[in-house]
C-alpha cells in the first residue's frame, strides 16, 4: 500500500482535470487565485524499503533515500505518495498503475530494470503523467543520478594529490578495493573514474583491483597479500565504499603498514561520519587518520535535489535530460560543513 505524507487528492483530481485540457494550461496556472502556489501530488517509487540493505554499491539504504524525499517535501508545495518497488518488476509496474489510478501529477521512478522501466514509461505516458527517473534511466524521462565515474575521479585525484605532496619520489603502489565488478551497482564506472584520477596525478602508478565480491571480510586477506607483495612501498587505497575503507584501514594496521598508506573512499555514509559524540573515522578531531576522505554520494539527501527538479517540470520549465549529483571529497576538514552534526543542545 502506498503511503501519503498529506492527503491532497481532491486537489490532485482537480489538477488532473486541468491537465487533460493540455500541458499549456497547467503551465499557465501554477498559482491559485489567492496568490498561493498550488500543491502537487508526486509519487515516489523507491527501489527498496528493506531496512539495512545497501544500495548503489554504497552504505546507504532505501529508507534513507525515502526519508530525504519526505524531509525535502516539507518546504515545497508537494504531497508525496510513497511506493516500495521491492526490487520487483511486477511490483514496480503495479505501483505505477496505482499512481495512474490516483492521478498523481508526476512520478519519480527509482528502479533498475530497463524492461520494466520501458513498460512503466509507456503506461505513464499514456496517462499523461510525467516521469522523473532516479539513478537508472527511464525512456523519455529526465534522469537524476549519481555520477560514479566523476566520483571515482575525485577519489583518484585525491589519492594522487596526497602522494605527490607527501611521498614525492618514494615508490608507490595503488589498489582499488571493493566489489569492483558489481555492474548492477555501476561500481566499474567508479573504478574507471579512480583510474583516470590517479593517472592524471600519478601516471607511473598502475592500480590493481582487489575484488571483495561485496564481502568486506575479504578485504583483510586481499589487501594483506597485496601489501606483503610490496614491502618498502607507499600504498594508496581507493575503497569503493565506506565499509570497505574501514576494513582496509584495519587490514593495513594488522599488516603493520598503516604508516605507509592512505585511503580514500566513496559514499560518506553513517559508518564513516557522524555527530560530535560519535567519534567516527572522518571527524574534525581525527585529522591524522589514514582515511583521508570519502567522496560524498548524498543518497540520503537526493530528495532535496530531485523534488525541485520535479517542480520545475510541473511548472513547465525545461530541465536537462541528465542531472548529476555534485560529488565532493569529504575530509576531516569539511565533514561538519557538509554534514552538520545535531547532537548538542
Amino acid at each position: 500500500m502506498p503511503q501519503h505524507t498529506t492527503p491532497a487528492l481532491r486537489e490532485g483530481r482537480r489538477r488532473f482535470c486541468l491537465s487533460l485540457l493540455g500541458g499549456a494550461a497547467a503551465v499557465a496556472l501554477p498559482r491559485l487565485a489567492g496568490g498561493q502556489e498550488r500543491r502537487y501530488t508526486i509519487a515516489f517509487a523507491n527501489l527498496t524499503e528493506e531496512p539495512g540493505v545497501t544500495i548503489e554499491g554504497t552504505g546507504f539504504t532505501g529508507p534513507e533515500v525515502r526519508a530525504s524525499f519526505v524531509l525535502a517535501a516539507r518546504k515545497l508545495p508537494i504531497d508525496l505518495v510513497l511506493y516500495d518497488n521491492q526490487r520487483d518488476p511486477k511490483r514496480a509496474l503495479a505501483n505505477a498503475e496505482d499512481a495512474i489510478a490516483r492521478k498523481v501529477d508526476l512520478f519519480v521512478e527509482y528502479f533498475a530494470d530497463p524492461d520494466a522501466n520501458a513498460a512503466m514509461a509507456a503506461r505513464l505516458k499514456a496517462a499523461r503523467i510525467p516521469i522523473l527517473a532516479l539513478n537508472h534511466g527511464v525512456p523519455g524521462a529526465p534522469l537524476y543520478t549519481i555520477d560514479n565515474e566523476a566520483a571515482g575521479r575525485i577519489a583518484g585525484e585525491a589519492l594522487g594529490q596526497f602522494a605527490t605532496r607527501g611521498w614525492r619520489g618514494q615508490p608507490t603502489v595503488a589498489a582499488i578495493v571493493g566489489p569492483v565488478d558489481a555492474k548492477a551497482d555501476r561500481v566499474p564506472e567508479r573504478v574507471q573514474g579512480v583510474m583516470e584520477g590517479l593517472r592524471a596525478r600519478l601516471p607511473a602508478v598502475k592500480p590493481v583491483t582487489l575484488d571483495t565480491q561485496g564481502n568486506p571480510a575479504r578485504v583483510g586477506a586481499l589487501l594483506g597479500k597485496f601489501v606483503a607483495a610490496h614491502p618498502g612501498t607507499k600504498v594508496l587505497v581507493a575503497a569503493t565504499d565506506d565499509s570497505t575503507a574501514l576494513a582496509a584501514k584495519s587490514a593495513l594496521e594488522v599488516a603493520g603498514r598503516a604508516s605507509d598508506a592512505a585511503i580514500v573512499s566513496h559514499g560518506v555514509d553513517r559508518n564513516i561520519h557522524g555527530g560530535i559524540n560519535d567519534k567516527k573515522e572522518i571527524d574534525p578531531n581525527n585529522r591524522a587518520s589514514i582515511v583521508i576522505g570519502s567522496v560524498a554520494f548524498y543518497l540520503d539527501r537526493c530528495g532535496y535535489d530531485v523534488l525541485p527538479l520535479a517542480l520545475r517540470m510541473l511548472r513547465g520549465e525545461a530541465v536537462p535530460p541528465r542531472t548529476v549529483t555534485k560529488h565532493v571529497l569529504v575530509t576531516a576538514t569539511n565533514v561538519f560543513v557538509e554534514y552538520p552534526p545535531y547532537d548538542m543542545n
Partner: protein
Amino acid sequence: MSFRSAVAASAIIILASASLAFAQSDCKTLVPPSPWGPNDQTGATNRITPAVTKAAAAEIQEGKVIEMSFPLTDGVPLFGTRFTKTILTATSLAPGAAYGENQLTYMEDTWLSQSHVGTHLDGLGHIGRKDCYFNQTPMGKYINQNNMTRLGLEHLKSFATRGVLLDMVKVFQAAGKLKTNAACRKPCLDGGTVITPADLQAALKMYNVTLREGDIVTIHTGWGDLFQQFPKQNAVYNSAAPGIGKEAAKWLISQKVVAVGTDTWVVEVIPGEDPKEAFIVHNMLITDNGIHILENVRTDLMADEAARTNRATFFFSMTVPKAVGLTGNFVAIEGIR
C-alpha cells in the same frame, strides 16, 4: 631562561598573538549590531521594562502556579558524554559528628553538571557565527579557560514578563495534519515537523491572543512527553524534534519577543529544513537578535490549563542565576495565573 631567550620567546608569543588577531573574522560583516547600542550585552531582556512587568502582572488572577520545568536529575536526556551528577555530603550525620548542645547537623551537595541540561536558558554567548557572537562580539578576545568575559548571564535583566503558550498539538489537530510519534503517550508533533508562521498565528487566534513586545513565547509540541519518560525514551527524544522553521523564527523576531521556549531539546525543527545548515534558528534568534532560547520547557500542564480556561497567557516567572561568564544555565520556570 636567559634574557636573550626570554626576549626571543616573547617575540614568538607576540607574533603568534598577532597572527591570531589577524585570523579573527570581521564580525561587522557576520553579525548585525544590537539595537540597544554597541556596548549592549543584555539583548532582548532590554525589552522588559517596568511597564512590561506591570502589565504582565495583570495575568495573575487566581494565584495559581503552573510548573513549567522538568525535574533535574540523573538520567534525563543528554548527548554524548554530558552528564549531571549530584554528590551528597552528610558527614555530620555520623555518630558524634553533630555540633554543639543543640546537636546541629548539616548537609550539602556537590553538583557536577554541564550548564545546558534539563530545562535551561541559552544565553547570548551560547551560539555564534564563526568567532562572532551577539552584537558583533569577536568572542576570541573574550574567552579564557573558565568562562567568557563578555555576554555572560550576569548581564541579563529580569524575565518577569507575560508568557504566551502556543499549543501546536491543538493547532495541528484542528488542521487535520497531526502526525504523532508512536513513543509519545499523548498526542505530539513528530520529529521533523516544521512549525510555520501560519501555525503560530493559528495558535494565537485559537486563544484570541495578540503578541506584545516583551512577551516570552512557549510552544507546546507534545514532544516533551518523551523527556518525561526518561531514560526509556531518551534516544527517541534526542533523535529529532518538531520545531520552528526559519520563517517562523523570522516572524517571532518581528514580534520583538524576549525568548522562545519549547518542550523539545532544541526549539527549532530537527532535521533542519536545509541539511547543510546547522541550528540556523539558534543563529537567527540568539546571535543576530539577542532573543533567548529556552529548551526542555515543561509545557503540558500549561497547555492543559489553557484548554480548561480558554486563556493561554500567564505571568512568566523564571530564575536565572547571575552566573558570571556562563553561556547558559538550568532554570526554574513557573507560570502564574
